[in-house]
């Protein structure tokens, strides 16, 4: 076998190895986004559980029915990021409504259950923020790969599109004071 043929074979092998490596890198980035997305699901579920408990406490003290005071939240499996954003926004609205109610019902505001749940919210919020940041970090890495040459060629051949960030809701961007 002549030297030019050997060189050609080596070049082809290197290109094949690179193609496999780049493809795997993209696939791993997609898996990481999916893992981080399920982390958001876990955090949203925890937040929903705390919210439900708080709504029960509010109902006991104010005698208001939950359904008349709060937005209905439905967490399902396989929600898109936009749907998760929307359900998270509804939870924000409900938490705000609880705080407004607590201002009008001093016995609620001073109850041990309510205060304990307020502290739980802080930890739950931190977990949700962590899940959001991790998800967005993985989305950023993936989206950067999609626009970086030559990996972008592989991505477009696979029909891959940029992933959507899990945005902080506009309401949550304002500081919300929780008085303990």
């Amino acid at each position: 076998m002549s030297v030019p043929v050997i060189i050609l074979i080596i070049i082809v092998l290197l290109v094949v190895v690179w193609l496999i490596s780049a493809s795997n890198k993209l696939n791993r980035a997609v898996v990481k986004i999916e893992e981080a997305s399920s982390g958001i699901d876990v955090a949203l579920t925890k937040r929903y559980d705390v919210l439900t408990k708080m709504m029960d406490v509010v109902k006991a003290y104010t005698k208001h029915e939950k359904e008349t005071m709060f937005e209905v939240i439905r967490l399902r499996s396989n929600m898109s990021i936009q749907e998760k954003n929307e359900e998270n926004r509804k939870m924000d609205e409900n938490f705000k409504a609880i705080q407004v109610l607590a201002e009008n019902y001093p016995t609620l505001k001073s109850s041990e259950n309510y205060n304990t749940l307020q502290k739980t919210i802080a930890d739950v919020e931190e977990h949700l923020q962590a899940a959001r940041r991790l998800y967005n970090s993985n989305v950023s890495i993936f989206n950067q790969l999609l626009v970086s040459f030559p990996v972008s060629l592989i991505a477009s051949s696979k029909g891959m599109k940029p992933a959507i960030f899990f945005e902080a809701d506009a309401v949550k961007k304002n500081d919300v004071k929780i008085e303990l």
Partner: protein, 307 residues
């Protein structure tokens, strides 16, 4: 207390110099006697004798005051150091002759505890409601090399000399987080870190990533603990201190190691005893410990309570 310490210090100095003078005179007399009887007229013999004499003239007085120096050190630590610690910490436990053991720090996987591990000045107490343990730590690695004549020479290389602190942390996680400043010497070798490469976590703060490497098997826990605010505070703390650092969160304990090359809370007999000056110096040395609680807000128990 100042008078007692100063009296003891003067007695040590006096004994040292008297013993030194006696040894020096004896060495000179032996030198002349040796020359007179011919033993030390030979250049080689004289050189060997001079070296041995110089060593003896220093070593003998040092050994003579050794016991009193230990007494001076213990008196200083049990009175001056302890009084400063009692002002700062509640529920204080202090033992200057005891330190951390390897087992106390071995839960920090990426810390290499070396071939020689020594520790002293064990302090345990509560500051602003946070339980704190700290100790001076010295880790060394044994290096052997064989010279051209086939002799094996052993030397010890310092990997870590400074302060090791363990705090009660205000968040609890199931996995370990290890945050190692780039250039920290006492970390496990490349192979060990490579085996854990899958657990390296890139945070969204690029400046933080340039200064520190974060390892955690669960990336969510890393993002949960290392909030943007905490990363800023870690950078702030690192900027305020000398030496490379390691942070590790294991369960509800935060380990902080600062390799500043110092063994704190020590005293010398060469300068006059000034108790107030010494206390101020001790307070400054302890700032390194207290700043961790203050800067990282470890006294914030918001995340510890709840359902």
């Amino acid at each position: 207390m100042q008078q007692e310490l100063e009296s003891l210090r003067k007695a040590i100095r006096k004994k040292f110099w008297i013993t030194f003078a006696v040894c020096l005179v004896a060495a000179i007399v032996i030198l002349f006697a040796g020359m007179a009887i011919g033993i030390l007229r030979n250049g080689t013999n004289a050189a060997i004798y001079l070296v041995l004499a110089l060593i003896a003239v220093y070593v003998i007085p040092t050994m003579a005051v050794g016991g009193q120096k230990t007494q001076f050190k213990n008196m200083f630590k049990n009175s001056v150091v302890k009084s400063v610690l009692e002002d700062i910490f509640t529920d204080l436990v202090y033992d200057p002759n005891v330190g951390l053991k390897r087992a106390d720090v071995s839960e920090v996987d990426f810390l290499y505890t070396g071939d020689r591990f020594s520790s002293d000045d064990y302090i345990e107490g509560t500051y602003k409601g946070v339980r704190v343990i700290q100790s001076d730590l010295h880790i060394e690695r044994q290096d052997e090399h064989v010279d051209s004549k086939g002799h094996t020479r052993t030397k010890y290389v310092t990997l870590f000399k400074g302060k090791w602190m363990i705090f009660e942390f205000n968040k609890s996680i199931s996995s370990k987080i290890q945050i190692i400043q780039k250039g920290f010497k006492a970390q496990r070798g490349a192979v060990s870190r490579l085996l854990n490469s899958q657990s390296k976590v890139e945070m969204e703060d690029t400046d933080f990533n340039k200064r520190f490497a974060v390892y955690c098997p669960n990336a969510h826990d890393a993002f949960y603990v290392l909030t943007p605010a905490l990363m800023e505070k870690i950078k702030e703390y690192e900027t305020s201190q000398d030496g490379k650092m390691i942070f590790a969160i294991v369960g509800n304990r935060l380990h902080v190691g600062v390799d500043n090359g110092r063994n704190d809370l020590e005293v010398s007999t060469s300068s006059k005893v000034d108790v107030e000056g010494m206390k101020n110096s001790i307070r400054e040395q302890l700032e390194l410990v207290l700043e961790v609680v203050n800067v990282l807000n470890l006294d914030n128990d918001l995340y510890k309570k709840g359902v």
